[in-house]
C-alpha cells in the first residue's frame, strides 16, 4: 500500500467515525391536512385479520386509513363505531355499513406462509354490495407498510378515478443549525414522511435533488468541494459519480425520461448560465441555449423532445420551451406575472407548475397547455414545486413559523397538507416516480 492509498484509507476511517456519530441527525415529517374537500367520501377501513406474530404487530388498515384521510378526500369511520369487523368481502353486510353512513368498505387479512406474508383485501361498495376491487400482495414482514400504501393507491384509484401516490417516495434537503454553521442532509423518505434515510450529509449546501424515471437514482448538486458539482447516486448501493464539476456553475440537474441523459445548467468561467444536455454514458455535452441571460432550471417534456427552462432574457425570469431537434425554436410559455421560474411538467403532461410572484409574495402557480394559469398557494416564500406521479398533487417548500417546511396542494386547489418537521428546516422536495412493477 503506497502512501497515497494509506492516506485515503485514513481519511475514510476518519470520515466513517464522523458518519456513525452524525447519522441520527435527521428530520422526521408528520402530515397534517390543512384543508380538505368540503364533502369527503365516507369509507370504513375495517382492521385486517392479523398473522400473529409474523406480522410484527403491524396494523395494515391503520396505514390505509391514514393514507386515504391524508388525501383530504376521504372521511374514515371510527373503529369504535363498527358493529362488526369482517375480514372478507363475503362477510360484509352492505346494508349495515350503509346505515352507518359509509359509501365504501375495505376489508382484508394478513396471513403467513413460511417467511413471506400474504396481504389480501377487498373493496366493497356499501350502496350496491358489489365488490369493486381485490388484490393480493406478497411481502416480507418488514414490507407491510409498502403493501398498505399499495392498497391505498388502488382504493383511491377505484373510487376517485386516478391512481393514488401513497406507495411513492420523496427526496428533500434538511438544513440544521444557524448561519454560517449549517449542516445539510439529503434525505429520501416515504411519501408520508416515514422511513427517512440520509443519502448524503455535508457541511456545505446540497441542492436540487432530481429522480431518475425508474426511481433508482438521484441526481443532485453538492458544494462539498467548495465548488458546485452535479452528482448521480444509485439509492440502493450508494454508488455515486460526479458527472459535472466544470468551472463556474454546475447545477439544476434533470433526468431525461429515458434515463440516459441529464439536462443541467453550466456557466463556464465567464459566468453565463446556459442549459446543456449531458449524455451519461458517453459524457458528451450538448449546448442547448446560448444567450447572455440566465438560462437555468431545465425540465423535460414527457416525450423527451423538448426542455422547459427559466430565462430572464426578456428582463424578469419567465418560462420558455426549446425543441432539442431545433434549438433556434424557443417559445415563451408563461405570461401575466413579472416572475415565473422553475418549471415542472406534470407526469401526464397536462399541467406546468412554477414559482410565480404575486405582489411581494412568491407562490406556486400552475397552468394547462392552453396557458390558463392559476395561483395555487397563499404563502410568501413558496418555491420548488414538484408533481406527484399521478399529477394530482404538488409538493413544494414553504414556511411555517419562519422555518422552511414542506407543504402540498392539489392541482384543483381543494386539498392542502403540511409536513411538519421535528427538527431543522426542510426544503427542495422532489416527488419520486411510481416504483417499477
Amino acid at each position: 500500500m503506497n502512501r497515497q492509498m494509506l492516506n485515503r484509507a485514513m481519511l475514510s476511517l476518519g470520515t466513517l467515525l464522523l458518519a456513525v456519530l452524525a447519522a441520527p441527525a435527521r428530520a422526521e415529517l408528520v402530515i397534517d391536512i390543512t384543508k380538505g374537500v368540503t364533502d369527503p367520501i365516507p369509507i370504513a377501513i375495517v382492521p385486517f385479520a392479523r398473522a400473529v406474530p409474523a406480522d410484527g404487530g403491524f396494523d395494515v388498515a391503520a396505514v390505509v386509513q391514514r393514507d386515504l384521510e391524508s388525501s383530504g378526500r376521504f372521511k374514515a369511520m371510527a373503529r369504535t363505531a363498527m358493529l362488526s369487523q369482517p375480514t372478507r368481502a363475503g362477510e360484509v353486510r352492505a346494508a349495515d355499513w350503509r346505515s352507518g353512513g359509509n359509501d365504501y368498505v375495505v376489508v382484508g387479512r394478513v396471513s403467513a406462509s413460511g417467511t413471506q406474508l400474504q396481504v389480501e383485501f377487498e373493496l366493497v361498495n356499501a350502496l350496491t354490495g358489489l365488490q369493486l376491487a381485490s388484490q393480493r400482495y406478497t411481502a416480507a414482514s418488514a414490507n407491510l407498510r409498502n403493501a398498505a400504501h399499495q392498497i391505498a393507491d388502488l382504493v383511491f384509484e377505484k373510487i376517485i378515478g386516478t391512481r393514488g401516490a401513497f406507495a411513492t417516495r420523496i427526496a428533500y434537503v434538511s438544513v440544521d443549525g444557524q448561519p454560517p454553521a449549517q449542516s445539510y442532509q439529503l434525505i429520501v423518505a416515504d411519501a408520508d414522511g416515514e422511513n427517512p434515510r440520509v443519502v448524503l450529509a455535508s457541511k456545505m449546501p446540497i441542492m436540487s435533488p432530481a429522480w431518475s424515471a425508474d426511481g433508482l437514482w438521484l441526481a443532485y448538486v453538492s458544494f462539498e468541494s467548495k465548488i458546485s458539482a452535479v452528482y448521480v447516486q444509485q439509492l440502493r448501493s450508494g454508488e455515486r459519480r460526479r458527472v459535472s464539476a466544470r468551472a463556474g456553475v454546475n447545477s439544476a440537474p434533470s433526468w431525461s425520461p429515458d434515463g440516459k441523459r441529464l439536462a443541467l445548467t453550466l456557466s463556464g468561467s465567464s459566468g453565463n448560465l446556459d442549459v446543456y444536455v449531458l449524455d451519461l454514458a458517453s459524457q458528451a455535452l450538448t449546448r442547448i441555449t446560448e444567450d447572455p441571460s440566465i438560462d437555468t432550471e431545465p425540465a423535460w417534456s414527457t416525450d423527451g423532445q423538448s426542455l422547459y427552462f427559466t430565462s430572464d432574457r426578456a428582463g424578469g425570469p419567465q418560462v420558455y420551451k426549446v425543441e432539442l431537434a431545433n434549438r433556434q425554436r424557443i417559445q415563451r410559455v408563461t405570461f401575466g406575472a413579472t416572475y415565473n421560474a422553475r418549471p415542472r411538467l406534470a407526469p401526464d403532461g397536462r399541467n406546468l407548475a412554477y414559482v410565480t410572484r404575486e405582489g411581494n409574495a412568491y407562490r406556486i402557480g400552475v397552468q394547462d397547455m392552453a396557458g390558463n394559469a392559476r395561483v395555487l398557494t397563499r404563502g410568501t416564500l413558496d418555491e420548488s414545486p414538484s408533481f406527484a406521479p399521478n399529477g394530482m398533487t404538488l409538493i413544494y417548500a414553504g414556511r411555517q413559523n419562519g422555518q422552511g417546511a414542506l407543504e402540498t396542494v392539489s392541482v384543483d386547489g381543494q386539498v392542502t397538507q403540511r409536513l411538519r418537521s421535528d427538527r431543522g428546516q426542510v426544503r427542495e422536495p422532489a416527488w419520486g416516480p411510481y416504483a417499477a412493477p
Binding site: L18, A19, L200, K203
Partner: protein, 179 residues
C-alpha cells in the same frame, strides 16, 4: 445485536467509500460520502430509526475557512441587482491594488442572494454578482488566473430570518483569499 448492526453499517459504508474513490475522485478537502440507504423493502414500521442512520456520512468542508471575514471583504447588493454600489467602489479598488501588485495571490469570489424566489435561479443571480466583482477587479489590472467564482445562491445565508435587514445582509459577494 446492536454491535452486529454497527458492524454491518461500517461494512456498507466502506463499500460506499470505495465506490466514491473509484468513481468520483473526491478532493481531499471534501471528503463527502454518500450513503446506500437500506433497501426500502427491508425496513419495517419500527426499524426506521435504526436504518435511517445506517451508513450515513459527513462531508466536512475545511473548518479553517469558517473564520469570520472582515467587513471590507464583503460587497453588498441591492435587491435584484448585480451593480456594485458606489459605497463599495473603494473597497473593490483596494482589493484590486493588492491583487494586481502580487499576481500569486488568488481569491475566490462567492456570490449570494437573499432567500426570495427560486433557489436555482438564485444561483444564477449570485453568479452574476460574483462576475460583476470579477469584471471590476480585472478592469483594474487583476489577472483572470487569480480569480475564481462560486455562487451559493440563497443556500448560505449570512443572517437568518426573513426581514429586510437579514435580506440586505445576505445579498453579497464575499472575497475569500486563498493564500
Amino acid at each position: 445485536m446492536r454491535n452486529n448492526r454497527l458492524g454491518w453499517i461500517v461494512v456498507i459504508s466502506v463499500l460506499a467509500l470505495a465506490g466514491c474513490g473509484r468513481n468520483a475522485r473526491l478532493p481531499a478537502d471534501g471528503g463527502a460520502t454518500a450513503t446506500p440507504p437500506a433497501d426500502a423493502s427491508s425496513s419495517g414500521a419500527d426499524s426506521g430509526a435504526a436504518s435511517a442512520g445506517a451508513g450515513s456520512a459527513t462531508a466536512d468542508a475545511s473548518a479553517n475557512e469558517a473564520a469570520v471575514q472582515p467587513d471590507n471583504r464583503i460587497i453588498y447588493f441591492d435587491f435584484d441587482s448585480s451593480e456594485i454600489r458606489a459605497e463599495f467602489v473603494d473597497a473593490v479598488a483596494t482589493h484590486a491594488r493588492r491583487l494586481a501588485g502580487n499576481n500569486s495571490i488568488r481569491v475566490r469570489l462567492e456570490g449570494h442572494t437573499d432567500e426570495r424566489g427560486s433557489p436555482e435561479y438564485n444561483i444564477g443571480l449570485g453568479e452574476r454578482r460574483a462576475q460583476a466583482v470579477r469584471r471590476a477587479l480585472m478592469l483594474q489590472g487583476v489577472a483572470e488566473s487569480q480569480l475564481t467564482t462560486v455562487s451559493y445562491g440563497e443556500e448560505r445565508a449570512a443572517q437568518a430570518g426573513s426581514s429586510e435587514e437579514a435580506w440586505a445582509k445576505n445579498r453579497r459577494v464575499e472575497l475569500v483569499y486563498l493564500n
